[in-house]
């Protein structure tokens, strides 16, 4: 695969390397995100479910056009930069944003019934509900219990067992 297109000059150099791996992780990320959505209940059923991308992302190329296990469609939309108001989203995939920006975003979405998944926060300090972590072959996730508790969503408790950071 050629390096990521020159159309994104704003990406830092380290991100370019990640972008090269993006296609490798993209299916796994799509699977994890879809599964997380599958195991989460919104206060009212969302159909279709609106999944938004905030910021640039390395592994989100397969997130467009997801289909849930129960057959619901997932609408994919990319939020414009700086648009922290996410009233139009049921789930937000937070891409490669600086930590303060991520925190700002999660703080704005807290208690609003919006799922947050952070791609670039392996230590899970952004207060996102789920933080992806990338191992050599597999994609796993950590779960921020505080964030899940305050999100207003119900996550299947069985998912807690799968969280990498949880005992």
């Amino acid at each position: 695969m050629p390096p990521v297109a020159a159309g994104e000059p704003l990406l830092p150099s380290y991100a370019l390397a990640g972008a090269a791996e993006g296609e490798r992780y993209a299916p796994a990320v799509a699977r994890v995100v879809q599964s997380l959505i599958d195991y989460t209940r919104w206060p009212a059923p969302r159909n279709p479910l609106r999944l938004c991308l905030a910021g640039p992302a390395f592994h989100a190329s397969r997130l467009d056009g997801l289909k849930l296990a129960d057959g619901r469609q997932v609408d994919w939309r990319v939020l414009p930069p700086g648009a922290v108001s996410a009233g139009a989203c049921d789930a937000v995939y937070i891409g490669q944003l600086p930590l303060p920006a991520q925190r700002q975003l999660t703080a704005a979405l807290r208690g609003r019934g919006v799922m947050t998944i952070a791609e670039a926060d392996p230590t899970c300090r952004s207060q996102a509900m789920f933080c992806l972590s990338f191992a050599a072959q597999a994609v796993s996730f950590r779960l921020n219990v505080d964030a899940v508790a305050r999100s207003g969503l119900r996550v299947d408790p069985r998912v807690l067992r799968l969280s990498a950071g949880q005992p």
Binding site: R31, S35, D38, A69, D70, G71, A138, S140, D156, R158
Partner: protein, 407 residues
């Protein structure tokens, strides 16, 4: 004795009890084991299904997230409780996603396999569903250890119950023996005593069991009748034998009684080395009295003579009437200061008073007495009697000569 080889009632009771109880215990054990085994097998099957469903529920997110380590952890957290030998999770294509084996297999593998083949023809399988999509399958192989332990425990319990049964049979037989056979043995013992010892006064005691008591009452009633018969028979027999040996006119013993008494006296004298005497007496002029005064007068004379004999004789002496006017006296050994001839003289003297006849006339008579002493005059009864008889004739001749001479 052949009777010792015959089975006793106690043996028969014990055998019957044992068979009955063995049959009951084996039947109960077999039916309990069978039904219990079936029930437990069903429960084990249900348990397997339940574990399979629980595993499916638990590992479903892990399968969705494709987290194999989480699958194994999830299986272990559910299936570790026991009753499960192996858990396998397959993906829809049939590839193994995770396999978990019970680390605590206590029995050899071949035992487990045989037990499994017997109990569960195929492993419990539950599909893994995510919504309407089939995302895999959980297959569980059971662990028959629990069932095998149940069978083992059942066998041990059945065996110990059998042992208890045998003991209980013995105790029951012993109790039955004391309750039933004891009273029967009382009856048998009484019957035996009645037969061998003629103890008709024995009675069967009350047993406290209705049938045996009825039997005992009838038996006692029979015994009472038997006792009555026996008593009357003995009485009649005694009367008859007395009558046979008695002279009805004088009340003295007759010839048969005398012969027996003489034989006894000889035997007694032989064993005790004592002497005794036989007095042979004959009434003088009895024929003349008979002729002159009639037979009734003769009878009176004989009775009077017998009475006078009895009056003179001592307690131990015995008088007999041999027939006609002949009497015999058996004299017991005489004490010191006493002689046989003096007794004879007293007898002779006792006859001197006249005898009053029924007609009112008085008749005088006397006794001719011959004496024979054992052992001086003879050793056998015949010899003694012969000697006494001839002595009596000598006396009679002497007396008649005296009389003639006196006249």
């Amino acid at each position: 004795m052949s009777s010792e080889r015959l089975p006793t009632i106690r043996d028969m009771l014990a055998r019957v009890h044992l068979r009955l109880m063995l049959f009951a215990v084996l039947l109960a054990a077999a039916s309990l084991t069978l039904s219990g085994g079936l029930v437990i097998r069903n429960y084990a099957q249900r348990n397997l299904d339940l574990v399979a469903r629980t595993v499916a529920y638990t590992v479903e997110p892990a399968v969705v997230f494709d987290d194999r380590q989480a699958i194994v952890d999830g299986i272990a957290s559910v299936a570790d409780g026991g009753g499960v030998q192996q858990v396998e999770v397959f993906d829809p294509a049939g590839r193994v996603l995770a396999r978990w084996n019970n680390p605590r297999a206590g029995l050899p593998a071949w035992v487990l396999q045989a037990g499994n083949r017997l109990l569960w023809p195929r492993p419990a399988a539950v599909p893994l569903m995510r919504g309407a999509t089939r995302i895999g399958e959980v297959r569980i192989t059971g662990n028959p250890e629990g069932l095998l332990r149940f069978a083992l425990a059942g066998t041990i319990i059945a065996l110990s119950t059998l042992a208890l049964t045998v003991i209980a049979t013995r105790i029951l037989a012993r109790r039955l023996q004391s309750d039933v056979i004891g009273p029967l043995e009382h009856v048998a013992e009484v019957a035996h005593a009645v037969r061998t010892e003629r103890s008709f006064d024995r009675r069967v005691p009350v047993a406290g069991i209705a049938e045996i008591d009825r039997f005992g009452q009838d038996f006692n009633a029979l015994l009472a009748e038997l006792q009555g018969w026996h008593a009357s028979m003995a009485r009649e027999h005694a009367e008859l034998s007395e009558r046979v040996l008695l002279d009805p006119l004088t009340g003295l013993g007759n010839r048969a009684a005398f012969e027996a008494a003489l034989a006894d006296a000889v035997t007694h004298a032989v064993t005790t080395s004592q002497s005794f005497a036989v007095l042979y007496c004959d009434v003088d002029q009895f024929k003349a009295i008979n002729d002159a005064h009639g037979h009734a007068a003769g009878d009176v004379a004989l009775a009077t003579v017998a009475e006078r004999l009895r009056a003179v004789l001592r307690q131990a002496d015995r008088a007999f009437r041999l027939g006609g006017d002949e009497f015999v006296v058996l004299l017991a050994p005489v004490g010191p200061g006493e002689t046989v001839s003096r007794i004879a003289a007293r007898l002779s003297q006792a006859m001197t008073p006249p005898i009053t006849m029924p007609s009112g006339q008085a008749v005088c008579t006397g006794l001719s007495i011959g004496l024979a002493t054992y052992p001086d005059d003879g050793l056998s009864p015949q010899e003694l009697l012969r000697r006494a008889d001839s002595a009596m004739y000598r006396d009679k001749r002497a007396r008649s000569q005296n009389k003639d001479g006196g006249l």
